[in-house]
Every structure is written in structure tokens, then in C-alpha cells.
């Protein structure tokens, strides 16, 4: 089976600092990847590179077995969706306007078709913003804006969904709700989901696979059971992680390093 997205000997640098050396990674259908690592480890840079917004310093990214550079931008955006960590609020645009931008990659007409408008409304309802469609985006709270951006991704409906801290700013109930929504929608049989998360508990609950980046070039990738160990995570976070009797990995917040 060809991977949906594959990184081959991918190296990323920020100015002179090497973030990532020779990453080999295959995103297979049905997987749910979680990227973990400290601040500045290159997680966002990696997602942008995998989405084709930034050329890798070395190596290549392949989408459905074809080099990513061979795709036209719109063709690429039909396959790969990216939720940026930082995202703007627009110029006096409504929440519906924001969700509708997700239909651009597949747009065939200059105007919005009833199907596109319906899809945008449905996505807003799924993210709990059905009532907010007519408001301008700058009236939303941080968590609501995040959910509107996720609604845009639902409208875009990509096969490879790359999300940079999708659950930041969401309250606990919304985190759970959106996390399940994302997993249902984007890690189905012909899709793959990759998320950058900071909440270890949530990350290990959702992930089928983990990618650990330490920011100095080293990386570790594989199924969650193999990768998410006390030893690896303690070293990665610089904070003790221990396994409780239940089998859960938890951070030991008492100790400071």
C-alpha cells in the first residue's frame, strides 16, 4: 500500500540551527499521528513543510507517491489540509465567510453553490458554531475562533489533515468533542491525521502513532506503544514522566529540573 504522505530523508533547519535530520516517515491510511516535542523543536515547521508551504532544506515529501512539488497548489490543497497554529481573523468577515473559504480548493464556480453553503453551515454546526454563522470573526472568543477554523478544515475535507495545536484555547468539554470529531473525520480508512499536541494525556489517548522531535535533529517515530515510554518522554520533555499502576503515563509536576 502506498503511504498517503511520505517524508524521505527530510532535514529542516531554522537559520543555522538544525531542527530535524533525515526524517523518514510514512503516513498510512487510518493512522492518527501525534507530534510531541518542546517549544521551538520544529513541529510547526515540519507541518508546514509536509503541507508544501515551505521547501525542505534537504529531502523530499511525496503525496500519493508523487513529489509534492509536482502538484499545483490547488490540486495539493484538495489532498492536504493544514490548520496553522496562528491564524488571522479576517477583515470584518463573518464566521460563515471563514468556513466557506474551505471550499476554495474544489471550487469550480466564481459564486458559491448551494452545496458549498450547505457544507459550511453543516461544518459550523458540527463544531458547535451553528448559531454564530452571521457574526463577524472578531466577536468570537479564542476557542470559538479555533473551532471556526476547524470547521473550515471540515469543509476542505482533505485526505491528509495536518493540525498544529487544534485544541489550544478549547475548554475541556470542547477538547473532547473536537478531538473525537477530528479522529472520526480524518483518520478513516482512506485518510490520515497528524496533530501537534501539548497535552500528554490527550495525545496518548488519541494517537495511534507518535513522532517525537527534540529540536536538535533527533527524532523518533512509530506506533504509540513502542514510542511512548517513560524513558523517551522524560528525556523529550525534560520533566519526569512515570507510568501509573493503571498503565497511564503521567507527568510528575512536583519535580522541577
Amino acid at each position: 500500500m502506498t503511504p498517503l504522505l511520505r517524508a524521505e530523508a527530510l532535514s529542516l533547519r531554522h537559520e543555522d540551527r538544525g531542527l530535524l535530520e533525515a526524517l523518514n516517515l510514512s503516513l498510512m491510511p487510518g493512522q492518527c499521528w501525534v507530534v510531541l516535542g518542546p517549544n521551538g523543536a520544529g513541529k510547526s515547521t515540519l507541518l508546514e513543510t509536509l503541507a508544501g508551504l515551505r521547501a525542505p532544506n534537504e529531502g523530499e515529501v511525496h503525496l500519493h507517491g508523487r513529489p509534492l512539488g509536482d502538484f499545483r497548489p490547488r490540486e495539493r490543497a484538495r489532498q492536504i489540509g493544514l490548520l496553522l497554529q496562528q491564524d488571522g481573523t479576517g477583515l470584518h468577515n463573518s464566521v460563515l465567510d471563514l468556513a466557506l473559504t474551505g471550499s476554495y480548493p474544489r471550487k469550480r464556480h466564481w459564486w458559491d453553490t448551494p452545496e458549498e453553503i450547505f457544507a459550511a453551515h453543516r461544518a459550523l454546526e458540527q463544531t458547535g458554531l451553528g448559531e454564530r454563522a452571521g457574526q463577524t470573526t472578531d466577536t468570537l472568543s479564542g476557542g470559538e475562533l479555533r473551532r471556526a477554523q476547524i470547521a473550515r478544515l471540515l469543509v476542505q475535507d482533505p485526505t491528509v489533515a495536518l493540525l498544529d495545536e487544534p485544541l489550544a484555547n478549547l475548554d475541556i468539554a470542547q477538547q473532547a468533542r473536537i478531538a473525537h470529531l477530528l479522529k472520526d473525520r480524518f483518520s478513516g480508512p482512506d485518510r490520515v491525521l497528524m496533530m501537534v499536541l501539548h497535552d500528554l494525556d490527550l495525545a496518548l489517548t488519541l494517537a495511534s502513532h507518535c513522532l517525537l522531535l527534540d529540536g536538535s535533529g533527533a527524532w523518533l517515530a512509530g506506533p504509540r506503544q513502542e514510542i511512548a515510554s517513560e524513558r523517551h518522554l522524560t528525556r523529550l520533555f525534560g520533566q519526569p514522566v512515570r507510568r501509573e499502576a493503571s498503565g497511564h503515563l503521567v507527568i510528575d509536576w512536583e519535580t522541577t529540573s
Binding site: 484538495r78 496553522l84 470584518h92 465567510d97 476554495y104 458559491d112 453553503i117 454564530r132 452571521g134
Partner: protein
């Protein structure tokens, strides 16, 4: 209370209707107003019929060209302002913020200072606008600049440089030349290009902008996000910059640096409910044309036979309207 989802079709009909009504009213008012009193009936008749009378020549050779020029210049400035605001993702963007008008002004004032013939001023203005445009883009475009902050800064600094040069020319100019220079700087439609040319430029600019409108809707949320959705950010940036600058250059070289219209009419259109660029671009264009046409009517009649600089009147007319709308709108 949750806001009801707007019905896009009805909003569009209402706003385009409003824009067209404003435009028609302004054009009519301008045609009907002047030192010679010609009845409304005669004005409408003489637009279509040539009877060789004095009234006919006043309408066909004076009022109609001036009215259409004012409309086209106002529309072009407003369209350029709307494009600039998306390009820079900044509500303070206006056609002049990146220095296009500064370049044109310096070239024209230098020409006046050197006593060049009046015929040279239009080409000089155009050359100045282009020089400034290319310089800013060449200086700013080399780097990765997803929010166009570097472009904005480069443009603002360049505009500051131009305005210093304008000050220099003004301080060196002999007193006799000063009024002419100041009049040009404040905007003056009495020496505009032929209205046909201006309207054609505006029509082309609007058509090109409308073709880009779906991409502009994405760019309003940031070029990086637009890129993630399949827009080529470099290409869009270049297209936007060229379009906005060319429209500004056309407007400035034909009528001087008329302020306010380009900054405020896009906001006016947004306050009225047009945020989608497919709607915002035409509505802002119509409103800008209407505003400048009305302002110019006032400029040429208030203290007739003398004329006021139209740029002063756009602001005098526009400021109260805008402030009133802003007060009604709790957020912007």
C-alpha cells in the same frame, strides 16, 4: 441573541442596488449643477441630442467629461484602497500608503519647478508613480513575507522619503508657483485625462479584481492560510500589488493626490454589510465614484467661479457620514 445567518443573495442585491442608486444620483446631481442654469429636462435631452447650442456644449464638453472623470477617479481610488487593505491585511491601508502617489507628486512638482510645459506633467506623474512602485516592490519582495509587513514598512518609509522631497521642492519653489503646486497636491480634477480612458482603466481594473475575488476572500485571513488552501501567495501578492498600484497611478496622475476616498469607502462598504470581496469590490467602487463625484460638484460650485481642491471636500463630506456609520456599528 445569535445573529441570524445573512442571506448572501439578498445582501448582494440590496448593496449593489444601493451602490448603483448612489452612483446614478451623484452623476445626475453633478450634471445638473453648474454656473449655467440648465433645466433637468434639457440636461437629459442634450446628453443624447446635439443641437449645437451653448447649453449643449456646456453639457457635452464641460460637465459630462468632468463628471465621468470624477466618478472614474473616485472608483479607481476606492478599488485600489480595497485591494491595498487585503494585500496588507490592514484596515489602515489606502492607495497612497506604499508611496505611489508620493513618487508621482515629486515628479510633477519637480517638473513644475523646472518650468516644464504642462503637457509633460501627466507623463511625468506616471513615470514617478511607476518608479516608486517598482522600487518598493524590488526592495521588499525578496524575502519570505507572509503578512506583507516588510512590504508595508518599505512602502511607508518610501512614502516618508517622497513627502520629505515634496517639502523640499515646495520650500525651494518661487512663491508664484506655490498655489498651483498645492492645488495639485490636494487633488484637482480640472485637468483630468479623457474620461473614456479613465473609465476603461477602471473597468479593466474592476474586472481583473473581480476575477481574483475568491482568492481575496482567502487572503483576508492571511496569505499563509490562503497558501494552505491552494492559493499561490507570491503570484497573488504580485497581482494585487500591480493592480492596486496601477489604479492608483492612473488616478493620481490624472487628478493629483485626492485623499480619504480610498481609505474610507472600503470601510463604508463593509459597514453596510459587504465583506465578501465579490460584493465588496463593486460596491466600494460605486460608492467611491459617487462620493468623489459629489465632492467635485461641490468643489466646482461652492465658491464659483473659483474652485476648491476636491480632496478637501471629499474629506469634509465623507468624515461626518463615516463617523455616523461608525457610531451605529458597535465593532469594526
Amino acid at each position: 441573541m445569535p445573529a441570524a445567518p445573512p442571506d448572501p443573495g439578498r445582501t448582494a442585491t440590496r448593496l449593489v442596488g444601493l451602490g448603483l442608486a448612489a452612483a446614478c444620483t451623484a452623476l445626475l446631481v453633478s450634471l445638473l449643477t453648474g454656473s449655467a442654469s440648465i433645466s433637468a429636462w434639457d440636461v437629459l435631452r442634450l446628453l443624447w441630442i446635439d443641437d449645437g447650442t451653448v447649453d449643449d456644449r456646456i453639457i457635452d464638453q464641460l460637465r459630462l467629461p468632468r463628471t465621468l472623470s470624477a466618478f472614474a477617479v473616485g472608483g479607481a481610488l476606492s478599488l485600489a484602497g480595497t485591494l491595498m487593505q487585503v494585500l496588507l491585511r490592514n484596515p489602515l491601508g489606502d492607495p497612497y500608503v506604499l508611496g505611489v502617489s508620493g513618487g508621482a507628486s515629486v515628479a510633477v512638482l519637480a517638473g513644475m519647478l523646472l518650468g516644464l510645459p504642462i503637457l509633460w506633467l501627466h507623463p511625468l506623474a506616471l513615470a514617478g508613480a511607476f518608479a516608486s512602485m517598482l522600487l518598493v516592490f524590488a526592495l521588499a519582495s525578496r524575502h519570505d513575507d507572509p503578512d506583507n509587513r516588510r512590504l508595508l514598512l518599505t512602502g511607508i518609509v518610501m512614502a516618508a522619503g517622497w513627502s520629505a522631497l515634496i517639502g523640499l521642492v515646495l520650500s525651494l519653489a518661487p512663491p508664484l508657483q506655490l498655489p498651483g503646486m498645492l492645488f495639485w497636491l490636494m487633488g484637482d480634477l480640472s485637468a483630468a485625462y479623457s474620461p473614456g480612458l479613465l473609465l476603461a482603466a477602471l473597468g479593466l481594473g474592476l474586472a481583473a479584481s473581480l476575477a481574483l475575488a475568491p482568492q481575496l476572500n482567502l487572503a483576508a485571513f492571511g496569505l499563509r492560510q490562503a497558501a494552505a488552501l491552494g492559493v499561490d501567495p507570491r503570484r497573488l501578492r504580485l497581482q494585487l500589488y500591480l493592480l492596486a498600484s496601477l489604479l492608483t497611478a492612473v488616478a493620481v496622475t490624472s487628478a493629483g493626490a485626492i485623499g480619504f476616498v480610498g481609505l474610507v469607502t472600503p470601510h463604508l462598504a463593509r459597514l453596510l454589510g459587504a465583506s465578501d470581496h465579490r460584493l465588496l469590490l463593486p460596491v466600494a467602487t460605486l460608492l467611491g465614484g459617487a462620493l468623489l463625484t459629489l465632492a467635485d460638484t461641490a468643489a466646482r460650485t461652492l465658491i464659483a467661479p473659483a474652485q476648491l481642491p476636491v480632496g478637501v471636500l471629499t474629506a469634509l463630506l465623507g468624515v461626518p457620514v463615516f463617523l455616523w456609520l461608525l457610531r451605529r456599528e458597535p465593532r469594526l
